[in-house]
């Protein structure tokens, strides 16, 4: 919260409650060694809240606790909280918890004269000392007021009790029923001034939401909002409204959408890890199929996926997706995929968020799918849905979880519905549209935006086939992008043209071929003629040569003979 951190030793010592989320809001828990007042209407969860404080103290923090019950008997309490997984009897046997029930029966009590509550003090003191308790709950001390008539004495005694509790150094919770115009009927807030927490249970549109608010926390910073909380089989979970800082870490890692051609449209690699993706489209445009592909791809990467279904039951989704060859069943079996199906009207919006939060914390998925978020509008108005989604996206980003929402757009009315509100929050927005043309409806997909990556600006047709989703290459006809049967017709036409052209080409080729053969033959003939001529010329040349040679020889012979003749003459001389 504050940028300046108070040094550890100067900060107020706190006792962690162990209640999911509460310690984050209170930055550590309840004021240590002081009483805290928890007020709220009947059924707002005060007793549960305080018993969880005691149980968690005993089990998680090694701090034994005393529960002083004015309303319920020990056995009743044990049964009531057994449904939350708390085994009170075991903890009691282990001397980690002591429950003391104080019964005030108006009919068998008479008051006369002066008295004090030393009996209570002694009982409490004895209980605390017997197990070395660090935590104490008084639930609900106001019952004393209905059992006893002398309120003057009671008030004085309560004041004494609270300061006595402080002296004992125990961290105490005092519960009180909400009164009219006051936090509690008996104005207990006058005595307990360190920390006051208000529990609320409101019903809007017939849907109830539990909320918690810290009214005051002396000497400590704390969240001041109303925080929704949930009571389920694990006790109380408070949802801290996530930080308002925009300082989440970002990842450069990319994850595939499960549809190769869609990845291609997204710069070839798919979505950023930890980003948020919105798929919006009209009814039956294939949003869930895209989501299922994404889930399938995630599971195939061995990354777990949590699928929140608000429209269809898991079995229905699995069956439907099987028809397009996306087998979710096997991932479900392996435990990589988890469905959480609920009717939006089951809880209020805030409660849904608490449920998301809780399941995500539990399952730790890498991918979360919400299908469709528009159904949540039925339990809240769009602005509320937006605020919920902001918080959800924020939380998921912090956990580096990739989230895909699908949103239904209505063609004619509610034009500015959730999807446009959400669109500004998400990182990637895919829009799936129906194109109604020429007596048929076709699906087209385009990327409205995708932060931080090169993405295709084209409207692509996509088909849902027996083998899943296929995004068809854009077919540009003379009149623009063609889809459906128009595309097919254009393709056929193009094919015919191609065939004709090929035929013509083939014929030309043949002509050329035959021409070549003829020419080749001619060339061969000329070549052989030339060879003949060459031969002839050669022959003449050789003969000439030979003749010349022979002539020379004869001449030389002649010369020799003549020389001999001269010699003979000379000899004879």
């Amino acid at each position: 919260m504050a940028s300046k951190k108070v040094p550890e030793n100067k900060r107020m010592p706190k006792t962690p409650t162990g209640i999911n989320g509460l310690d984050e809001i209170t930055e550590g828990g309840l004021p240590k060694g002081r009483p805290t007042l928890i007020c709220g209407d009947a059924g707002s969860g005060k007793t549960l809240f305080s018993i969880e404080f005691i149980v968690k103290g005993a089990t998680d923090y090694n701090e034994p606790g005393v529960f002083l019950a004015f309303e319920e008997k020990k056995e009743e309490l044990a049964v009531n909280v057994a449904s939350l997984g708390f085994d009170l009897n075991k903890l009691i046997a282990e001397k980690k918890i002591k429950i003391d029930h104080i019964q005030i029966d108006r009919s068998e009590i008479e008051e006369t004269g002066e008295y004090d509550l030393d009996g209570l003090f002694i009982r409490l003191g004895y209980a605390i000392d017997s197990i070395g308790a660090k935590r104490v709950v008084l639930d609900t001390i106001e019952n004393l007021f209905s059992g006893l008539t002398n309120h003057g004495i009671l008030r004085a005694e309560l004041r004494r009790l609270f300061s006595w509790l402080k002296d004992k150094g125990v961290t105490a919770i005092i519960t009180g029923e909400k009164g009219e115009g006051k936090l509690t009927r008996q104005a207990l807030e006058e005595y307990v001034s360190d920390c006051v927490i208000l529990l609320d249970h409101r019903i809007e549109n017939q849907i109830s939401t539990r909320r918690l608010r810290i009214i005051k926390y002396r000497g400590s910073v704390h969240g001041t909002n109303e925080y929704p909380f949930l009571i389920d089989e694990d006790g109380i979970s408070v949802l801290p409204i996530t930080s308002l800082h925009l300082s989440n870490e970002v990842s450069n890692q990319r994850v595939s959408s499960g549809i190769a051609s869609l990845d291609e449209m997204l710069g070839g690699k798919g979505f950023f890890k930890g980003s948020s993706i919105l798929v919006s489209g009209s009814a039956g445009s294939g949003k869930t199929s895209i989501a299922a592909h994404f889930a399938d791809a995630s599971c195939n990467r061995n990354e777990s996926c949590l699928f929140f279904a608000f429209e269809e039951s898991p079995a229905q989704i699995i069956r439907n997706m099987k028809s397009i060859n996306v087998d979710l069943q096997k991932h479900l079996k392996k435990g990589l995929l988890k469905f959480y199906a609920s009717r939006p009207t089951m809880y209020g919006l805030e409660m849904h968020l608490v449920v998301f939060y809780k399941l995500i914390k539990e399952f730790k998925p890498k991918v979360v799918i919400l299908d469709p978020i528009t159904n949540l509008v039925t339990v809240g108005d769009p602005s509320q849905v937006k605020s919920i989604l902001i918080r959800l996206i924020d939380f998921l980003q912090k956990e580096q979880i990739t989230v895909m929402f699908t949103a239904l757009t209505f063609p004619h009315f509610l034009q500015t519905s959730v999807d446009e509100d959400v669109a500004s929050l998400v990182d990637t927005w895919l829009s799936v549209h129906d194109i109604e043309y020429n007596g048929e409806r076709n699906r087209a997909i385009y990327i409205m935006k995708s932060r931080g990556m090169k993405n295709s600006n084209q409207v692509r047709e996509f088909l849902i086939t027996d083998n899943g989703i296929e995004i068809v290459e854009v077919t540009l006809g003379p009149a623009g992008v063609l889809v459906g049967s128009a595309r097919e017709a254009y393709k056929l036409e193009k094919n015919t043209g191609e065939a004709l052209r090929k035929n013509a080409f083939d014929r030309k080729n043949k002509q050329i071929e035959s021409r070549k053969t003829i020419l080749d033959a001619k060339v061969a003939k000329l070549k052989s003629e030339f060879e003949l001529v060459k031969d002839e010329l050669n022959r003449i040349y050789i003969e000439e040569e030979l003749r010349n040679e022979v002539a020379e020889k004869n001449r030389k012979q002649l010369m020799k003979m003549r020389e001999k003749k001269v010699e003979n003459i000379n000899k004879n001389k």
Binding site: I109, T112, L117, R123, Y126
Partner: protein
């Protein structure tokens, strides 16, 4: 009723003026209305705190009538005689006398 033995317990926390007053008052009423038929047990919770739970004591002094049944409790120093007598169901007895 008269024939029965009355078992009274007075829970106190130390010898405070309030508890002394309560004991004094109690003895006075018992001697007056239940002479010879009563037994008073004084329990000091400072010494035996574990006993407080059994009789559901949260205020002191508290007078508990175990026998005869039903159990009755009177909180306070017992200074109002009429209230004590009504509380212990002794008034009808008184009119009968």
């Amino acid at each position: 009723m008269q024939s029965k033995q009355w078992e009274l317990k007075l829970y106190v926390a130390g010898k405070t003026p309030k508890s002394m007053t309560a004991l004094k008052n109690l003895k006075k009423y018992c001697d007056e209305y239940l002479a010879g038929q009563y037994k008073i047990e004084i329990i000091d919770l400072l010494k035996t705190p574990q006993l407080a739970e059994g009789d559901q004591i949260f205020a002191v002094p508290t007078l508990v009538r175990k026998v005869p049944v039903p159990m009755r409790k009177i909180i306070g120093d017992l200074s109002n005689e009429e209230k004590v007598l009504v509380g212990l169901n002794l008034v009808p007895v008184k009119t009968a006398l």
